[in-house]
Protein backbone atom coordinates (compact mmCIF):
# COMPACT_ATOMS: atom_id res chain seq x y z
CA UNK A 1 0.00 0.00 0.00
CA UNK A 2 1.28 3.41 -0.92
CA UNK A 3 1.29 6.36 1.46
CA UNK A 4 0.31 9.36 -0.65
CA UNK A 5 2.04 12.70 -0.09
CA UNK A 6 2.24 16.15 -1.54
CA UNK A 7 5.56 17.88 -1.54
CA UNK A 8 6.18 21.45 -2.70
CA UNK A 9 9.77 22.45 -3.36
CA UNK A 10 10.13 26.09 -2.29
CA UNK A 11 13.36 26.36 -4.31
CA UNK A 12 11.41 25.61 -7.50
CA UNK A 13 7.96 27.11 -7.11
CA UNK A 14 7.62 30.22 -9.27
CA UNK A 15 4.10 31.23 -8.14
CA UNK A 16 2.52 30.66 -11.55
CA UNK A 17 -0.73 29.47 -9.93
CA UNK A 18 -1.19 26.83 -12.64
CA UNK A 19 -1.86 24.21 -9.94
CA UNK A 20 -4.71 26.34 -8.57
CA UNK A 21 -6.22 26.80 -12.02
CA UNK A 22 -5.77 23.16 -13.03
CA UNK A 23 -7.48 22.02 -9.83
CA UNK A 24 -10.41 24.37 -10.27
CA UNK A 25 -10.90 23.30 -13.85
CA UNK A 26 -10.44 19.56 -13.34
CA UNK A 27 -12.98 19.35 -10.53
CA UNK A 28 -15.27 22.19 -11.65
CA UNK A 29 -15.00 23.79 -8.24
CA UNK A 30 -17.59 26.49 -7.56
CA UNK A 31 -16.81 30.19 -7.38
CA UNK A 32 -15.19 31.27 -4.13
CA UNK A 33 -13.79 27.83 -3.32
CA UNK A 34 -10.11 27.06 -3.86
CA UNK A 35 -8.86 23.64 -2.94
CA UNK A 36 -5.30 24.75 -3.57
CA UNK A 37 -3.58 28.10 -3.26
CA UNK A 38 -0.09 29.48 -3.66
CA UNK A 39 1.28 31.52 -0.76
CA UNK A 40 4.26 33.80 -1.26
CA UNK A 41 6.33 34.76 1.73
CA UNK A 42 8.50 37.86 1.77
CA UNK A 43 6.92 38.92 -1.51
CA UNK A 44 9.29 41.25 -3.37
CA UNK A 45 11.98 40.98 -0.71
CA UNK A 46 15.23 39.09 -0.67
CA UNK A 47 14.65 35.46 0.18
CA UNK A 48 11.16 35.37 -1.34
CA UNK A 49 9.67 31.90 -1.36
CA UNK A 50 6.43 30.54 -2.78
CA UNK A 51 4.62 27.38 -1.80
CA UNK A 52 1.59 25.68 -3.23
CA UNK A 53 -0.60 24.42 -0.40
CA UNK A 54 -3.74 22.31 -0.16
CA UNK A 55 -4.90 19.54 2.13
CA UNK A 56 -1.70 17.76 3.22
CA UNK A 57 -3.56 14.55 4.15
CA UNK A 58 -2.18 14.43 7.71
CA UNK A 59 -1.72 11.12 9.51
CA UNK A 60 -3.43 12.43 12.67
CA UNK A 61 -5.59 15.05 11.01
CA UNK A 62 -6.83 17.88 13.29
CA UNK A 63 -9.95 18.24 11.09
CA UNK A 64 -10.94 14.64 11.81
CA UNK A 65 -10.20 15.16 15.51
CA UNK A 66 -12.50 18.17 15.82
CA UNK A 67 -15.29 17.21 13.39
CA UNK A 68 -18.50 16.99 15.50
CA UNK A 69 -20.14 14.53 13.09
CA UNK A 70 -17.06 12.41 12.36
CA UNK A 71 -17.32 12.75 8.57
CA UNK A 72 -13.59 12.24 7.83
CA UNK A 73 -11.93 8.98 6.97
CA UNK A 74 -8.46 7.97 5.82
CA UNK A 75 -8.15 5.71 2.78
CA UNK A 76 -5.71 2.83 2.52
CA UNK A 77 -3.39 5.16 0.60
CA UNK A 78 -3.28 7.60 3.54
CA UNK A 79 -5.58 10.12 1.83
CA UNK A 80 -7.90 12.06 4.14
CA UNK A 81 -11.38 12.24 2.59
CA UNK A 82 -14.74 13.37 3.91
CA UNK A 83 -18.36 12.45 3.39
CA UNK A 84 -20.42 15.43 2.25
CA UNK A 85 -23.65 13.62 3.12
CA UNK A 86 -22.58 13.65 6.77
CA UNK A 87 -20.84 17.06 6.87
CA UNK A 88 -23.01 19.77 8.44
CA UNK A 89 -20.87 22.76 7.44
CA UNK A 90 -19.94 23.92 10.96
CA UNK A 91 -16.52 25.21 9.92
CA UNK A 92 -14.57 23.66 12.81
CA UNK A 93 -12.23 21.79 10.44
CA UNK A 94 -11.22 25.12 8.91
CA UNK A 95 -10.31 26.49 12.36
CA UNK A 96 -8.37 23.35 13.23
CA UNK A 97 -6.50 22.81 9.95
CA UNK A 98 -2.89 24.07 10.02
CA UNK A 99 -2.98 24.72 6.25
CA UNK A 100 -6.35 26.39 5.81
CA UNK A 101 -7.40 23.62 3.43
CA UNK A 102 -11.15 23.24 4.15
CA UNK A 103 -13.28 25.61 2.07
CA UNK A 104 -16.95 26.51 2.32
CA UNK A 105 -19.29 27.58 -0.46
CA UNK A 106 -21.22 30.65 0.65
CA UNK A 107 -24.49 29.86 -1.06
CA UNK A 108 -26.71 29.07 1.93
CA UNK A 109 -29.15 31.53 3.51
CA UNK A 110 -28.14 33.94 6.32
CA UNK A 111 -24.43 33.59 5.47
CA UNK A 112 -24.61 30.00 6.69
CA UNK A 113 -21.85 27.73 5.49
CA UNK A 114 -22.50 25.05 2.92
CA UNK A 115 -20.88 21.64 3.06
CA UNK A 116 -17.11 21.66 3.32
CA UNK A 117 -15.01 21.16 0.20
CA UNK A 118 -11.33 20.34 0.13
CA UNK A 119 -8.57 18.66 -1.86
CA UNK A 120 -9.26 14.95 -2.34
CA UNK A 121 -5.82 14.11 -3.78
CA UNK A 122 -7.90 13.59 -6.93
CA UNK A 123 -9.32 10.48 -5.25
CA UNK A 124 -13.03 11.33 -5.29
CA UNK A 125 -15.18 10.48 -2.30
CA UNK A 126 -17.18 7.71 -0.67
CA UNK A 127 -19.52 7.42 -3.68
CA UNK A 128 -19.03 4.78 -6.36
CA UNK A 129 -15.93 5.47 -8.49
CA UNK A 130 -16.61 7.63 -11.59
CA UNK A 131 -20.32 8.02 -10.74
CA UNK A 132 -21.93 11.37 -11.52
CA UNK A 133 -22.66 11.82 -7.79
CA UNK A 134 -19.00 11.47 -6.99
CA UNK A 135 -18.00 13.95 -9.68
CA UNK A 136 -20.60 16.50 -8.58
CA UNK A 137 -19.60 16.36 -4.91
CA UNK A 138 -15.89 15.65 -4.96
CA UNK A 139 -14.66 16.16 -8.52
CA UNK A 140 -12.67 13.82 -10.73
CA UNK A 141 -11.36 10.54 -9.37
CA UNK A 142 -8.01 10.39 -11.17
CA UNK A 143 -6.36 8.07 -8.70
CA UNK A 144 -8.68 5.18 -9.61
CA UNK A 145 -7.66 5.72 -13.25
CA UNK A 146 -4.04 5.28 -12.25
CA UNK A 147 -3.28 9.00 -12.55
CA UNK A 148 -1.80 11.30 -9.95
CA UNK A 149 -3.27 14.67 -8.84
CA UNK A 150 -3.43 17.06 -11.77
CA UNK A 151 -1.87 20.00 -9.90
CA UNK A 152 1.38 18.08 -9.50
CA UNK A 153 1.18 16.36 -12.88
CA UNK A 154 1.20 19.66 -14.74
CA UNK A 155 3.53 21.68 -12.51
CA UNK A 156 5.91 23.30 -15.02
CA UNK A 157 8.93 23.43 -12.70
CA UNK A 158 8.11 20.15 -10.97
CA UNK A 159 8.07 22.02 -7.71
CA UNK A 160 4.86 20.31 -6.67
CA UNK A 161 5.23 16.57 -6.35
CA UNK A 162 2.48 14.11 -5.53
CA UNK A 163 2.62 10.38 -5.10
CA UNK A 164 3.93 7.63 -2.89
CA UNK A 165 5.90 9.03 0.04
CA UNK A 166 8.94 6.85 -0.67
CA UNK A 167 9.17 7.97 -4.30
CA UNK A 168 8.65 11.64 -3.42
CA UNK A 169 11.23 11.48 -0.65
CA UNK A 170 13.68 9.83 -3.04
CA UNK A 171 13.24 12.55 -5.69
CA UNK A 172 13.65 15.27 -3.12
CA UNK A 173 16.70 13.63 -1.59
CA UNK A 174 18.37 13.55 -5.02
CA UNK A 175 17.57 17.23 -5.48
CA UNK A 176 19.11 18.07 -2.13
CA UNK A 177 22.23 16.11 -3.00
CA UNK A 178 22.49 17.96 -6.31
CA UNK A 179 22.12 21.24 -4.48
CA UNK A 180 24.85 20.12 -2.12
CA UNK A 181 27.24 22.89 -3.13
CA UNK A 182 24.72 25.60 -2.30
CA UNK A 183 23.87 23.84 0.95
CA UNK A 184 27.57 23.85 1.69
CA UNK A 185 27.73 27.58 1.09
CA UNK A 186 24.85 28.07 3.54
CA UNK A 187 26.78 26.07 6.07
CA UNK A 188 23.77 23.77 6.42
CA UNK A 189 23.22 22.42 9.89
CA UNK A 190 23.29 18.83 8.62
CA UNK A 191 26.98 19.08 7.82
CA UNK A 192 29.00 18.08 10.82
CA UNK A 193 32.79 17.95 10.87
Amino acid sequence: MARMKFYCDAERCIECNACVTACKNEHEIPWGVNRRRVVTIKDGEQGERSLSVACMHCSDAPCAVVCPVDCFYTTGDGIVLHDKDICIGCGYCFYACPFGAPQFPKDAAFASRGKMDKCTFCAGGPEEDHSSDEYKKYGRNRLSEGKLPLCAEMCSTKALLAGDADVIADIYRKRVVNRGASAFNWGGSEIKG
Binding site: A10, V39, I88, Y95, S189, I191
Partner: protein
Protein backbone atom coordinates in the same frame (compact mmCIF):
# COMPACT_ATOMS: atom_id res chain seq x y z
CA UNK B 1 49.34 12.76 -16.38
CA UNK B 2 50.52 12.64 -12.79
CA UNK B 3 50.49 16.43 -12.56
CA UNK B 4 46.91 16.44 -13.83
CA UNK B 5 45.80 13.99 -11.10
CA UNK B 6 47.55 16.06 -8.46
CA UNK B 7 45.85 19.18 -9.73
CA UNK B 8 42.41 17.54 -9.52
CA UNK B 9 43.20 16.33 -6.01
CA UNK B 10 44.33 19.81 -5.04
CA UNK B 11 41.11 21.29 -6.40
CA UNK B 12 39.05 18.83 -4.36
CA UNK B 13 40.95 19.55 -1.19
CA UNK B 14 40.95 23.33 -1.67
CA UNK B 15 37.43 24.05 -0.38
CA UNK B 16 38.16 21.97 2.71
CA UNK B 17 41.26 24.00 3.40
CA UNK B 18 39.54 27.34 2.97
CA UNK B 19 36.71 26.25 5.28
CA UNK B 20 39.14 24.85 7.79
CA UNK B 21 40.85 28.18 8.05
CA UNK B 22 37.64 30.21 8.12
CA UNK B 23 36.47 31.80 11.33
CA UNK B 24 34.94 31.22 13.76
CA UNK B 25 35.08 27.42 13.93
CA UNK B 26 36.75 24.81 11.80
CA UNK B 27 34.77 22.06 10.13
CA UNK B 28 36.81 19.54 12.05
CA UNK B 29 36.13 21.04 15.46
CA UNK B 30 34.06 18.87 17.81
CA UNK B 31 31.29 21.50 17.93
CA UNK B 32 30.68 21.25 14.19
CA UNK B 33 29.53 24.13 12.02
CA UNK B 34 27.54 26.73 13.90
CA UNK B 35 26.15 28.65 10.95
CA UNK B 36 22.35 28.55 10.64
CA UNK B 37 20.69 27.89 7.31
CA UNK B 38 18.68 30.94 6.16
CA UNK B 39 16.06 28.47 4.95
CA UNK B 40 15.56 27.04 8.41
CA UNK B 41 15.05 30.55 9.82
CA UNK B 42 12.36 31.24 7.22
CA UNK B 43 10.42 28.04 7.84
CA UNK B 44 10.78 28.48 11.56
CA UNK B 45 9.01 31.83 11.18
CA UNK B 46 6.37 30.39 8.84
CA UNK B 47 5.55 27.70 11.38
CA UNK B 48 5.27 30.36 14.12
CA UNK B 49 7.76 28.55 16.31
CA UNK B 50 8.62 31.78 18.11
CA UNK B 51 5.01 32.88 18.43
CA UNK B 52 5.41 35.57 15.77
CA UNK B 53 3.26 35.55 12.66
CA UNK B 54 4.86 35.81 9.24
CA UNK B 55 2.04 36.56 6.83
CA UNK B 56 2.47 35.92 3.14
CA UNK B 57 0.32 36.90 0.21
CA UNK B 58 -1.81 34.77 -2.05
CA UNK B 59 -3.72 35.29 -5.27
CA UNK B 60 -6.56 33.42 -3.57
CA UNK B 61 -8.36 36.10 -1.63
CA UNK B 62 -10.12 34.56 1.32
CA UNK B 63 -9.92 34.61 5.12
CA UNK B 64 -6.34 33.96 6.30
CA UNK B 65 -5.30 32.78 2.82
CA UNK B 66 -1.89 34.47 3.24
CA UNK B 67 -1.13 32.49 6.38
CA UNK B 68 0.73 29.32 5.47
CA UNK B 69 0.55 27.57 8.84
CA UNK B 70 -2.08 28.13 11.52
CA UNK B 71 -0.14 26.85 14.51
CA UNK B 72 -2.93 27.29 17.04
CA UNK B 73 -5.60 25.37 15.17
CA UNK B 74 -4.49 21.97 16.36
CA UNK B 75 -4.19 23.19 19.97
CA UNK B 76 -7.74 24.53 19.78
CA UNK B 77 -9.05 21.30 18.25
CA UNK B 78 -7.47 19.17 20.94
CA UNK B 79 -8.66 21.56 23.68
CA UNK B 80 -12.22 21.20 22.42
CA UNK B 81 -12.08 17.42 22.26
CA UNK B 82 -10.10 16.62 25.39
CA UNK B 83 -11.15 19.43 27.74
CA UNK B 84 -14.43 21.07 26.69
CA UNK B 85 -16.25 17.90 25.68
CA UNK B 86 -14.95 15.74 28.52
CA UNK B 87 -15.22 18.16 31.44
CA UNK B 88 -18.38 19.77 30.07
CA UNK B 89 -20.13 16.42 29.94
CA UNK B 90 -18.85 15.48 33.40
CA UNK B 91 -19.96 18.83 34.88
CA UNK B 92 -23.51 18.49 33.56
CA UNK B 93 -23.76 14.89 34.74
CA UNK B 94 -22.36 15.88 38.15
CA UNK B 95 -24.95 18.64 38.63
CA UNK B 96 -27.73 16.18 37.80
CA UNK B 97 -26.36 13.79 40.44
CA UNK B 98 -26.10 16.61 43.02
CA UNK B 99 -29.69 17.71 42.34
CA UNK B 100 -30.98 14.15 42.64
CA UNK B 101 -29.03 13.66 45.89
CA UNK B 102 -30.39 16.96 47.22
CA UNK B 103 -33.92 15.82 46.42
CA UNK B 104 -33.34 12.45 48.08
CA UNK B 105 -31.82 14.02 51.20
CA UNK B 106 -33.90 17.16 51.60
CA UNK B 107 -36.97 16.37 49.52
CA UNK B 108 -39.35 19.14 48.56
CA UNK B 109 -38.81 21.98 51.00
CA UNK B 110 -42.29 22.57 52.50
CA UNK B 111 -43.78 25.90 53.46
CA UNK B 112 -44.04 26.29 57.24
CA UNK B 113 -47.72 26.23 58.14
CA UNK B 114 -48.70 25.00 54.68
CA UNK B 115 -50.41 26.94 51.95
CA UNK B 116 -52.83 29.60 53.16
CA UNK B 117 -54.68 30.07 49.88
CA UNK B 118 -54.25 33.82 50.28
CA UNK B 119 -52.19 35.08 47.40
CA UNK B 120 -49.98 38.01 46.55
CA UNK B 121 -48.99 39.23 43.08
CA UNK B 122 -45.31 38.55 42.29
CA UNK B 123 -44.86 38.87 38.53
CA UNK B 124 -46.81 40.66 35.80
CA UNK B 125 -47.88 38.87 32.65
CA UNK B 126 -45.15 40.67 30.71
CA UNK B 127 -42.49 39.56 33.17
CA UNK B 128 -43.63 35.97 32.93
CA UNK B 129 -43.66 36.11 29.12
CA UNK B 130 -40.12 37.50 29.17
CA UNK B 131 -38.99 34.80 31.59
CA UNK B 132 -40.50 31.93 29.65
CA UNK B 133 -39.29 33.30 26.31
CA UNK B 134 -35.73 33.28 27.60
CA UNK B 135 -36.29 29.89 29.23
CA UNK B 136 -37.60 28.27 26.05
CA UNK B 137 -34.91 29.83 23.85
CA UNK B 138 -32.26 28.82 26.40
CA UNK B 139 -33.49 25.24 26.58
CA UNK B 140 -33.64 24.97 22.80
CA UNK B 141 -30.12 26.34 22.41
CA UNK B 142 -28.88 24.10 25.24
CA UNK B 143 -30.21 20.95 23.61
CA UNK B 144 -29.02 21.83 20.10
CA UNK B 145 -25.67 23.04 21.42
CA UNK B 146 -25.08 19.95 23.53
CA UNK B 147 -25.93 17.72 20.56
CA UNK B 148 -23.08 19.39 18.67
CA UNK B 149 -20.68 19.28 21.63
CA UNK B 150 -21.40 15.83 23.07
CA UNK B 151 -22.97 14.06 20.10
CA UNK B 152 -19.74 12.63 18.75
CA UNK B 153 -18.84 10.60 21.86
CA UNK B 154 -22.41 9.94 23.11
CA UNK B 155 -24.85 9.80 20.17
CA UNK B 156 -22.81 8.49 17.22
CA UNK B 157 -22.20 5.12 18.96
CA UNK B 158 -25.98 4.87 19.54
CA UNK B 159 -27.43 6.02 16.22
CA UNK B 160 -24.57 5.82 13.74
CA UNK B 161 -23.09 8.66 11.69
CA UNK B 162 -25.85 8.92 9.09
CA UNK B 163 -28.72 9.34 11.54
CA UNK B 164 -26.71 11.56 13.87
CA UNK B 165 -25.76 13.81 10.94
CA UNK B 166 -29.46 14.62 10.47
CA UNK B 167 -29.81 15.57 14.16
CA UNK B 168 -26.60 17.56 14.06
CA UNK B 169 -27.49 19.38 10.86
CA UNK B 170 -30.91 20.34 12.26
CA UNK B 171 -29.23 21.37 15.52
CA UNK B 172 -26.72 23.56 13.73
CA UNK B 173 -29.33 25.28 11.57
CA UNK B 174 -31.73 25.70 14.50
CA UNK B 175 -28.99 26.93 16.82
CA UNK B 176 -27.82 29.48 14.25
CA UNK B 177 -31.32 30.61 13.32
CA UNK B 178 -32.77 31.00 16.83
CA UNK B 179 -29.52 32.00 18.54
CA UNK B 180 -30.08 35.73 17.95
CA UNK B 181 -33.43 35.41 19.83
CA UNK B 182 -31.37 34.69 22.95
CA UNK B 183 -29.85 38.17 22.74
CA UNK B 184 -33.29 39.74 22.27
CA UNK B 185 -34.80 37.93 25.26
CA UNK B 186 -31.68 38.66 27.29
CA UNK B 187 -32.13 42.39 26.70
CA UNK B 188 -35.80 42.04 27.72
CA UNK B 189 -34.79 40.21 30.92
CA UNK B 190 -32.21 42.87 31.67
CA UNK B 191 -34.74 45.70 31.30
CA UNK B 192 -37.46 43.93 33.31
CA UNK B 193 -35.52 42.68 36.31
CA UNK B 194 -32.28 44.68 36.63
CA UNK B 195 -33.53 47.12 39.30
CA UNK B 196 -34.80 44.42 41.68
CA UNK B 197 -31.56 42.48 41.35
CA UNK B 198 -29.23 45.16 42.65
CA UNK B 199 -27.42 43.81 45.68
CA UNK B 200 -28.50 45.32 49.01
CA UNK B 201 -27.96 45.04 52.76
CA UNK B 202 -28.64 41.58 54.06
CA UNK B 203 -27.45 39.77 50.94
CA UNK B 204 -24.10 39.01 52.55
CA UNK B 205 -25.83 37.39 55.53
CA UNK B 206 -27.73 35.18 53.11
CA UNK B 207 -24.47 34.11 51.50
CA UNK B 208 -22.78 33.44 54.85
CA UNK B 209 -25.67 31.22 55.90
CA UNK B 210 -25.39 29.25 52.66
CA UNK B 211 -28.82 30.27 51.45
CA UNK B 212 -30.55 27.83 53.80
CA UNK B 213 -29.60 24.75 51.79
CA UNK B 214 -27.46 23.55 54.68
CA UNK B 215 -29.16 23.35 58.06
CA UNK B 216 -32.70 24.24 59.01
CA UNK B 217 -34.66 27.42 58.77
CA UNK B 218 -34.97 30.05 56.09
CA UNK B 219 -32.62 32.92 55.56
CA UNK B 220 -33.93 36.44 55.38
CA UNK B 221 -34.41 37.73 51.84
CA UNK B 222 -35.97 40.57 49.88
CA UNK B 223 -37.98 40.32 46.64
CA UNK B 224 -35.06 38.34 45.24
CA UNK B 225 -32.57 36.70 47.52
CA UNK B 226 -28.81 36.71 47.16
CA UNK B 227 -28.75 33.44 45.22
CA UNK B 228 -31.37 34.58 42.73
CA UNK B 229 -29.58 37.88 42.24
CA UNK B 230 -26.26 36.13 41.57
CA UNK B 231 -27.96 33.79 39.10
CA UNK B 232 -29.53 36.81 37.43
CA UNK B 233 -26.21 38.63 36.99
CA UNK B 234 -24.56 35.42 35.79
CA UNK B 235 -27.26 35.13 33.13
CA UNK B 236 -26.81 38.77 32.12
CA UNK B 237 -23.00 38.90 32.06
CA UNK B 238 -22.20 35.40 30.77
CA UNK B 239 -25.29 35.56 28.55
CA UNK B 240 -24.04 38.67 26.78
CA UNK B 241 -20.60 37.10 26.36
CA UNK B 242 -22.25 34.03 24.83
CA UNK B 243 -24.50 36.14 22.61
CA UNK B 244 -21.67 38.32 21.26
CA UNK B 245 -19.28 35.40 20.69
CA UNK B 246 -22.18 33.55 19.08
CA UNK B 247 -22.87 36.38 16.67
CA UNK B 248 -19.18 36.39 15.71
CA UNK B 249 -19.36 32.64 15.07
CA UNK B 250 -22.67 32.64 13.22
CA UNK B 251 -21.67 35.18 10.60
CA UNK B 252 -18.35 34.23 8.99
CA UNK B 253 -18.73 36.98 6.40
CA UNK B 254 -16.92 39.90 8.03
CA UNK B 255 -13.44 38.56 7.38
CA UNK B 256 -12.83 37.49 10.97
CA UNK B 257 -9.85 35.14 11.06
CA UNK B 258 -9.49 31.70 12.55
CA UNK B 259 -7.99 32.87 15.85
CA UNK B 260 -10.96 35.12 16.57
CA UNK B 261 -13.26 32.21 15.72
CA UNK B 262 -11.32 29.81 17.95
CA UNK B 263 -11.38 32.30 20.85
CA UNK B 264 -15.10 33.00 20.34
CA UNK B 265 -15.81 29.30 20.28
CA UNK B 266 -13.98 28.71 23.57
CA UNK B 267 -15.73 31.67 25.29
CA UNK B 268 -19.09 30.57 23.86
CA UNK B 269 -18.73 26.97 25.03
CA UNK B 270 -17.29 27.64 28.50
CA UNK B 271 -19.92 30.36 29.15
CA UNK B 272 -22.72 28.12 27.95
CA UNK B 273 -21.52 25.19 30.08
CA UNK B 274 -21.50 27.42 33.20
CA UNK B 275 -25.03 28.68 32.53
CA UNK B 276 -26.31 25.17 31.70
CA UNK B 277 -24.95 23.63 34.90
CA UNK B 278 -26.27 26.46 37.13
CA UNK B 279 -29.61 26.53 35.28
CA UNK B 280 -30.20 22.91 36.30
CA UNK B 281 -30.03 24.08 39.93
CA UNK B 282 -32.31 27.03 39.14
CA UNK B 283 -34.86 24.75 37.49
CA UNK B 284 -34.75 22.35 40.44
CA UNK B 285 -35.26 25.05 43.08
CA UNK B 286 -38.01 26.67 41.01
CA UNK B 287 -39.98 23.47 40.60
CA UNK B 288 -39.74 20.26 42.65
CA UNK B 289 -37.13 21.61 45.07
CA UNK B 290 -39.28 24.17 46.82
CA UNK B 291 -43.02 24.03 47.51
CA UNK B 292 -44.97 26.93 46.07
CA UNK B 293 -42.11 28.44 44.08
CA UNK B 294 -43.44 27.42 40.67
CA UNK B 295 -46.72 29.29 41.29
CA UNK B 296 -45.03 32.67 40.87
CA UNK B 297 -43.98 31.98 37.30
CA UNK B 298 -47.08 29.93 36.49
CA UNK B 299 -49.87 32.28 37.52
CA UNK B 300 -47.95 35.35 38.61
CA UNK B 301 -49.25 34.96 42.18
CA UNK B 302 -47.60 33.28 45.16
CA UNK B 303 -48.99 32.13 48.46
CA UNK B 304 -48.38 34.68 51.21
CA UNK B 305 -46.95 31.95 53.46
CA UNK B 306 -44.39 31.15 50.75
CA UNK B 307 -43.48 34.82 50.49
CA UNK B 308 -43.08 35.09 54.29
CA UNK B 309 -40.89 31.99 54.38
CA UNK B 310 -38.60 32.62 51.42
CA UNK B 311 -38.67 36.37 50.96
CA UNK B 312 -39.61 37.66 54.43
CA UNK B 313 -38.66 41.29 53.83
CA UNK B 314 -40.84 41.42 50.70
CA UNK B 315 -43.57 39.42 52.47
CA UNK B 316 -43.61 41.94 55.30
CA UNK B 317 -43.97 44.75 52.77
CA UNK B 318 -46.97 42.94 51.25
CA UNK B 319 -48.54 42.67 54.69
CA UNK B 320 -47.86 46.32 55.45
CA UNK B 321 -49.21 47.59 52.15
CA UNK B 322 -52.18 45.24 52.33
CA UNK B 323 -51.56 43.64 48.92
CA UNK B 324 -52.81 40.18 49.89
CA UNK B 325 -55.88 38.90 48.12
CA UNK B 326 -58.23 36.23 49.35
CA UNK B 327 -58.52 32.74 47.90
CA UNK B 328 -61.93 33.63 46.40
CA UNK B 329 -60.60 36.78 44.79
CA UNK B 330 -57.62 34.81 43.43
CA UNK B 331 -59.91 32.22 41.89
CA UNK B 332 -62.01 34.96 40.33
CA UNK B 333 -58.87 36.61 38.96
CA UNK B 334 -57.61 33.37 37.51
CA UNK B 335 -60.90 33.10 35.64
CA UNK B 336 -61.00 36.66 34.37
CA UNK B 337 -57.89 38.59 35.28
CA UNK B 338 -58.83 42.27 35.15
CA UNK B 339 -55.78 44.36 34.44
CA UNK B 340 -56.44 47.00 37.10
CA UNK B 341 -56.13 44.53 39.97
CA UNK B 342 -53.01 43.04 38.48
CA UNK B 343 -51.41 46.43 38.00
CA UNK B 344 -52.20 47.41 41.58
CA UNK B 345 -50.73 44.25 43.00
CA UNK B 346 -47.53 44.44 40.99
CA UNK B 347 -46.41 47.77 42.29
CA UNK B 348 -45.03 46.25 45.46
CA UNK B 349 -42.24 44.56 43.58
CA UNK B 350 -40.89 47.64 41.93
Amino acid sequence: MRIKTLLILFCLVLPQISLADGPPKSLNSPEGVSAISPGSELWRAVRQRDGEVLEGVSQVKSVDSGMLINARGDQWARFRISKLTTYGGIAIAAVFVIVILLYVVRGKIPIEGGLSGRMVRRFTDYERIVHWTLAIVFLFLTITGLILLLGKPLLIPLFGKEVFSVFASASKEGHNLFGPLFLVSLIMIFLSFARRNIYEKGDLTWLLKGGGIIGDGHVSGGFFNMGEKTWYWMVILIGFAIAISGLILVSPVFGQGRWIMELSHVIHTIGALILITVSIGHMYLGSIGSEGAMEGMKSGYVDINWADAHHDRWGKKCHDENLIISAEEYARLQGRKPDDTAELATEQGK
